[in-house]
């Protein structure tokens, strides 16, 4: 009699029948019925209605039946919590059964029943079981603590289960220890309270004990312990070394999980040792053979091993550098193994073994699986880029493959040949002819984009480049954006190289891009080219035909901090996905990021580092000393974009890293220079004033010796006088006749970030004035005195000057005119009222600078009709001095360009209440024209006036 018959009952009324059977008098019949119920449960049928009947069978002393009932309970207790309570007594009784197997079964099951009411009953039996005389019960109870912690972490911490768990680590039985370790690791990752987390951290003493227990544990227990030990970072090199020595024997274990976990521990500890020492070298040597052995295990394990080896090879390439051959692909390997092997093969390629690798890759490129073949072709290209001496052989191999005319092989080959052209310009263009023959067969965007890039780049050497590009142009609208962008650039390149006969073509592509395309990137790039070409073709040539930065040879390397994190997760899912756990695990556990420990540097190394640091300093200064004002004609973002796409040819995903190119090769070419300056100026302008390097602080305006001195120290401290750019004249606010002898002159200043009102009070009366106080009426910007007016009693005919700090948190009421401020000053004689105009530039904050692209998008966002243009008259300022001058008033120059002797400055400022004002200052032969844009047009007049004042002040 077999059990398969239970799967076949699918009649109606079955539940009813089962119910009857479950309540039958006969034991065997009841057992049959429970089996049927479990079978139904497995297939996904809802048998929860039978809950009470099944629970009734629980009392049976038959262990097999008991297990089945428990299984049922675990599944359905949650849906029927009130009924599950009925089972509690049986559980509690079973926890005291003389048979240890039953005690363990009960404690195992009860932990899986996630019903709050039951959890409360669980504590006592669990406590007893944790101290059970039988190791089988104890090891089960240890895991149960983890289960309980998952349900109610605070309960576990309150009830002292953590202490009991920790006691189990010293148990005489290895399996109990292993399970306690597993439970502690799991709880430690999600501990609720500080105290608990602290209690569950591994101490050196504990780790030592666990490593001793390692030998006696089951293979799984060894994995638990090794994974736990991996979380511990020893403080000293010696300790790390002795830990490695004790973990190393595990590398010979038959279980791949044990081997990988041991590798993980060793890889982590190696970070703590002196690099290059004999011990490190011998340890590294020991790692290679076990890793290779993993490749003769089952395919799935091979896959996990290969994904990990991929990480290990990136971290420590020396481990497997001589083991190239084991990564040769076998015909019968499953595809996932093949693809991974190929990846590692490329990483291990060097000039020494390139011949072997290339022969293999050629073999792979003729296989059946499309993905694999593509990857193999791509790998050939990567070899060419990595090993220069082999580039020629790689190119000829690729040409051979193109001759096969297999569509996807051809396309893939063209994509990689484009990369080879990038790496070795002007070397292999003899193959262009062959490539052009295959033009018609290209149907994938990436291949088309690559081909177009090649045509554009070598336009001067391809006689019919215009025809070829024109043929692409016919279907412009149907192409993908990446191809369209490439086509646009290629045609512009062609035009710049052969302007005479391609004017029509370039006009066509520009109008297609700007007028018919929906994609904003495409339109923007079209406009840029258009404007570039129409205003300054020479500049266009510099930008479009700029020398391109080199591409890096190592591709798709993981970013070092991620690599470090993944090395800490060797053997785990994270290492299989090559993603940090936070990317795929929910909850708190994921938030804890692991990282490789770093070695405390020795004394000698520390001094060495200090020396190096000292050397670095001058370079920093030199960079800071670069001219602050940007000379970029357009925003750098788009230029960056242009170069970016130009580099990759296909617009991303071409297998050559683009992101690394820019920082890696600074100032390589004109274009890069532009970018570099742009960045510098951005940094300089965007930061708050005190952080600016001293060289950028111009000594315009006052120009006194104090100011100059202040300038020198300006970068170090925020001395008020450092802000010397522009100081307005004192204005007469309250004439003596109106103030009963008190005359007030004043002005508004901004020093550092502090808004101040300077008051010059003169006593023209015959008596002493005292008891000064000041008050502001509600005003547009919420200006109010930040502290009471501090003015000593004033004797007749005496003058006193005071600075009154202001804040802008006062009450706001819109005034007319906007900048009007009504002030009341009181003294021992009377209260006097006067009103004055606040020059708007004192309200400009230090945060007024912005990124170029932000500027551009903000400019665009504000409707054109709100733009206001005024002529400011003629001044002798140079654009540089203007921008410095304005900068001192927190008007930030974002970008600058010059067209035909007309200088354009793009500036931004931000008012203390957050209003942004953007300005375009046009300087044409000394005549200044200001265009303003803001969402609040009211501020225009004030800004214009401030500009006028500032310009006039120092003219």
């Amino acid at each position: 009699m077999t059990d398969s018959k239970y799967f076949t009952t699918t009649r109606k009324g079955e539940i009813f029948e089962l119910k009857a059977e479950l309540n039958s008098d006969r034991k065997d019949k009841r057992k049959e019925a429970v089996k049927k119920v479990i079978a139904s449960m497995t297939v996904g049928k809802d048998v929860s209605t039978l809950f009470p009947d099944v629970v009734n069978c629980m009392q049976a002393d038959n262990l097999e039946l008991k297990k089945l009932v428990y299984l049922y309970l675990m599944n359905y207790a949650k849906t029927q919590p009130d009924k599950a309570i009925m089972a509690v007594n049986t559980f509690v009784r079973d926890c005291e059964d003389p048979n240890p197997l039953i005690r363990a079964l009960a404690v195992r099951t009860i932990g899986c029943i996630r019903v709050d009411e039951i959890t409360a009953y669980l504590c006592d039996p669990l406590r007893k079981c944790l101290k059970d005389e039988d190791p089988y019960v104890r090891k089960t109870a240890a895991v149960c603590v983890a289960k309980l912690h998952d349900i109610d972490p605070l309960l576990v911490e309150e009830q002292g289960f953590l202490d009991m768990l920790k006691d189990l680590l010293a148990d005489s039985n290895p399996m109990v220890v292993a399970n306690a370790v597993a439970a502690m690791t799991e709880i430690g990752e999600s501990a609720q309270t500080e105290a608990a987390a602290r209690m569950l951290t591994w101490s050196g003493h504990l780790v030592n004990k666990l490593l001793t227990a390692l030998n006696e544990c089951t293979e799984w227990g060894q994995v638990f312990i090794l994974d736990a030990v991996a979380n511990y970072t020893p403080s000293e090199e010696n300790e790390a070394q002795s830990m490695i020595e004790r973990v190393c024997p595990r590398l010979a274990h038959a279980n791949a999980a044990v081997v990988l976990s041991a590798v993980k521990v060793i890889m982590k500890l190696l970070e703590l040792l002196t690099p290059g020492s004999d011990f490190v070298q011998s340890t590294v040597k020991k790692l290679s053979a076990p890793l290779v052995t993993l490749l003769s295990s089952e395919h799935e394990i091979q896959y996990v091993a290969l994904r990990n080896i991929n990480l290990i090879v990136q971290k420590r390439p020396e481990i497997l550098k001589h083991e190239l051959k084991v990564f040769f692909v076998k015909y019968n390997d499953p595809i996932y193994v093949k693809l991974e092997k190929l990846d590692i093969l490329i990483r291990l390629t060097s000039a020494a073994n390139i011949a072997n690798v290339l022969a293999e890759l050629k073999e792979y490129a003729t296989e059946v699986d499309v993905d694999f073949v593509r990857k193999a072709v791509r790998a050939i290209g990567r070899c060419a880029i990595k090993v220069e001496s082999a580039a020629e052989r790689c190119v000829s191999t690729l040409l051979d493959l193109i001759q096969t005319k297999v569509n996807y092989v051809v396309q893939e080959a063209i994509v990689v040949i484009k990369d080879i052209f990038r790496k070795y310009p002007n070397k292999y263009e003899s193959v262009i002819g062959t490539l052009c023959e295959n033009l018609d067969t290209l149907d994938e965007p990436e291949a088309r984009a690559s081909m177009i890039w090649i045509i554009g780049e070598y336009a001067e050497r391809i006689d019919n480049a215009d025809e070829l590009l024109e043929s692409f142009l016919d279907g412009f609208a149907d192409e993908q954006t990446s191809v369209q962008l490439q086509l646009l650039t290629a045609v512009v390149k062609l035009f710049l190289k052969r302007p005479t006969d391609t004017q029509e073509l370039v006009q066509r592509v520009l109008s297609l891009a700007t007028q018919e395309a929906d994609n904003p990137d495409l339109r923007d790039r079209g406009y840029i080219y258009w404007r570039l070409l129409s205003t300054d073709p020479a500049a266009a040539k510099q930008v479009v035909l700029a020398e391109k930065p080199l591409i890096s040879e190592e591709t798709d390397l993981l970013e070092p901090s991620l690599l470090g994190e993944l090395v800490c997760h060797i053997g785990s899912l994270a290492s299989v996905y090559h993603r940090p756990p936070s990317a795929f695990v929910d909850g708190r556990v994921a938030a804890q990021r692991k990282g490789l420990p770093s070695r405390a540097p020795t004394l000698a190394e520390a001094t060495g580092a200090a020396d190096a640091g000292a050397e670095v300093v001058p370079t920093d200064n030199a960079q800071n000393a670069k001219p602050a004002v940007s000379v970029i004609p357009t925003q750098d973002s788009l230029i960056g974009d242009l170069l970016d796409i130009d580099m990759s040819g296909g617009g991303g995903g071409s297998g050559i890293t683009q992101q690394s190119a820019a920082p890696a090769v600074p100032s390589q070419s004109n274009a890069m220079d532009l970018l570099g300056d742009g960045l510098d100026s951005l940094l300089g302008l965007g930061g708050p004033a005190p952080q600016q390097p001293p060289q950028q602080q111009p000594a315009v305006g006052g120009g006194s010796g104090v100011d100059a001195l202040a300038d020198i120290f300006g970068g170090l401290s925020a001395t008020p006088s450092a802000q010397a750019g522009f100081t307005p004249q004192l204005e007469s606010w309250l004439p003596a006749q109106r103030g009963k002898g008190m005359q007030i002159d004043g002005r508004f200043l901004r020093r550092g970030a502090q808004l101040q009102m300077e008051l010059q009070v003169r006593n023209n009366a015959m008596q002493q004035l005292s008891g000064f106080a000041i008050q502001f009426n509600k005003n547009s910007f919420g200006l109010a005195p930040a502290q009471p007016l501090s003015l000593n009693p004033l004797a007749p005919m005496q003058t006193a000057t005071t600075l009154l700090p202001l804040h802008t948190k006062g009450q706001v009421q819109k005034m007319e005119p906007l900048l009007n401020l009504q002030v009341a000053v009181k003294n021992n004689i009377d209260v006097f009222y006067f009103s004055c105009l606040v020059p708007i530039h004192v309200l400009f904050t230090e945060e007024g600078g912005m990124d170029k692209r932000v500027f551009l998008s903000t400019w665009k966002d504000i409707p054109a009709d709100s733009e206001s243009q005024t002529s400011l008259g003629s001044y002798s300022h140079s654009p540089d001095s203007v921008s410095n001058l304005l900068q001192s008033c927190n008007v930030f120059t974002i970008a600058r360009r010059s067209v035909d002797g007309i200088e354009m400055l793009y500036q931004s400022m931000k008012l203390c209440n957050g209003i942004l004002v953007l300005a375009e200052l046009k300087i044409s032969g000394g005549a200044f024209t200001l265009s303003l844009k803001s969402r609040h047009a009211e501020v225009y007049s004030g800004v214009q006036e401030s500009y006028l004042k500032i310009l006039k002040s120092s003219n």
Partner: protein, 432 residues
């Protein structure tokens, strides 16, 4: 750790479903069926993430075994466990197929209860499991018996129970090597390695301590260094350099690491004592020299020469792949029988008694249908060989296996020992 474990048949119907963790719901069962078993395209990885849940699967004949988790668990451990589970089930009811799984589902649930607790693998040793989980249901045991069981399940030597008695103490050692070769058409060895296994069947009484000696260079040399006086006995040549070896749970690894001694208390019955890998100085038993000529679009000529490089007589099979559009094959061979098997797309050449140091040739003319479909290009799979030879290609030798049992009165001399060497073909391929 493992959140749930499911077993499906080829249609994707669930045969076994056991959930260990609360974060795995019933929908996970369906997610795997829909996204992997019923997936339109062949699934290309043994690990798949579906809706932030990871699915690990292995497939045996028509059965899918799938472990599920939402955590960042140890992937190597999961696969090792799945294989172990297949092994355990296999030893309980034989072949893993739908029929057997349905017939034994209660047993499987019972096993799963024991194998995993809250997703953590527990004791997975078949021998031990069989002491308390049986197909006949659990017998009612006395207190002493159950304590004995639990002690053994959790004990230090979990793989062996006490009180085993044999009238005849006997042990068998099989050194089984699979020889893997990848050779270029020009006869250059691209890669060759031997993966060997030492299988032991022990029928020994009590708790015997065994010491195992092999002719590995490192082991032999360190032995010699340890007691230089006895070095005279060892022959100079005949040492091999094993790249790497792995041992059964029972071998004391720390002792191996420090003293290069393989010592252990064996489980009762059959087990795999050690696994090793060797890449140096492999004596390749056979050599295949292919010659393929394509004559026009409808004809091909194949010549294959097989050489044997050893002194023995054995059975050999050579598989020569043919293109998919083969219409007919004419084969001529001097020795053995060769037949074109259309279903396998290969010429299968069997030689019943291949003598040592001999060379045999096969030539074939292959007629092809005019290939209209260019996309289905023939990719020339490699020619493979199957054989079994009575020696170890790596040169691996068992030097001794000594048995010490202090409590019972039998000595090493009383144990009857058998050693056998088998060299099998692994992936023994020559590209053509």
């Amino acid at each position: 750790m493992i959140g749930g474990l499911f077993v499906y048949n080829h249609k994707g119907e669930v045969l076994i479903s056991r959930v260990y963790r609360d974060d795995i719901g019933r929908n996970a069962v369906d997610a795997f069926r829909v996204n992997v078993i019923h997936a339109r395209q062949q699934v290309r990885s043994p690990v798949n993430m579906i809706a932030r849940t990871s699915f690990f699967h292995v497939k045996r004949s028509n059965i899918w075994l799938c472990a599920v988790s939402k955590k960042n668990l140890n992937a190597a451990l999961v696969f090792q466990f799945l294989y172990k589970m297949l092994e355990v089930m296999g030893s309980y009811f034989g072949k893993i197929n739908e029929e057997n799984i349905k017939n034994n589902f209660v047993l499987i649930y019972e096993l799963l209860d024991e194998l995993l607790d809250y997703g953590y693998p527990q004791n997975t040793d078949t021998g031990v499991l069989k002491t308390f989980i049986t197909q006949q249901g659990v017998k009612s045991q006395t207190k002493e018996e159950t304590t004995k069981i639990t002690n053994q399940v959790t004990g230090q030597i979990a793989w062996r129970r006490e009180g085993i008695k044999y009238r005849r103490n006997e042990l068998f050692l099989d050194v089984v090597e699979s020889v893997n070769l990848l050779m270029s058409p020009q006869g250059q060895v691209l890669s060759a390695h031997v993966s060997g296994r030492v299988l032991m069947k022990s029928y020994l009484s009590g708790m015997p301590e065994c010491k195992f000696g092999i002719n590995d260079k490192v082991i032999v040399e360190s032995r010699r260094a340890a007691d230089s006086s006895s070095a005279a006995g060892a022959t100079k040549s005949g040492h091999i350099a094993i790249d790497d070896c792995q041992f059964h749970q029972c071998v004391k690894l720390s002792k191996f690491d420090t003293e290069h001694a393989i010592s252990f208390i064996p489980p009762d019955g059959e087990f795999e004592l050690m696994r090793y890998r060797n890449t140096k100085d492999i004596s390749l038993p056979f050599r295949v020299i292919p010659l393929v000529r394509e004559i026009g679009r409808t004809k091909m000529e194949v010549k294959v020469v097989v050489k044997s490089n050893f002194k023995a007589v054995t059975k050999v099979e050579v598989r020569i792949p043919t293109p998919l559009n083969t219409s007919g094959v004419q084969v001529i061979c001097m020795k053995g029988k060769a037949r074109y098997k259309a279903s396998d797309n290969a010429i299968v050449w069997k030689i019943k008694r291949m003598g040592g140091m001999k060379e045999w040739q096969l030539s074939a003319e292959i007629d092809l249908l005019n290939a209209t479909d260019k996309a289905k290009k023939w990719t020339r799979p490699p020619i493979s060989m199957n054989f079994e030879v009575p020696f170890a290609a790596s040169g691996f030798k068992v030097r001794y296996l000594k048995v010490f049992e202090s409590k019972l009165n039998y000595s090493d001399h009383d144990v009857i020992k058998w050693v056998r060497y088998i060299g099998k073909s692994g992936l023994y391929e020559t590209r053509c």
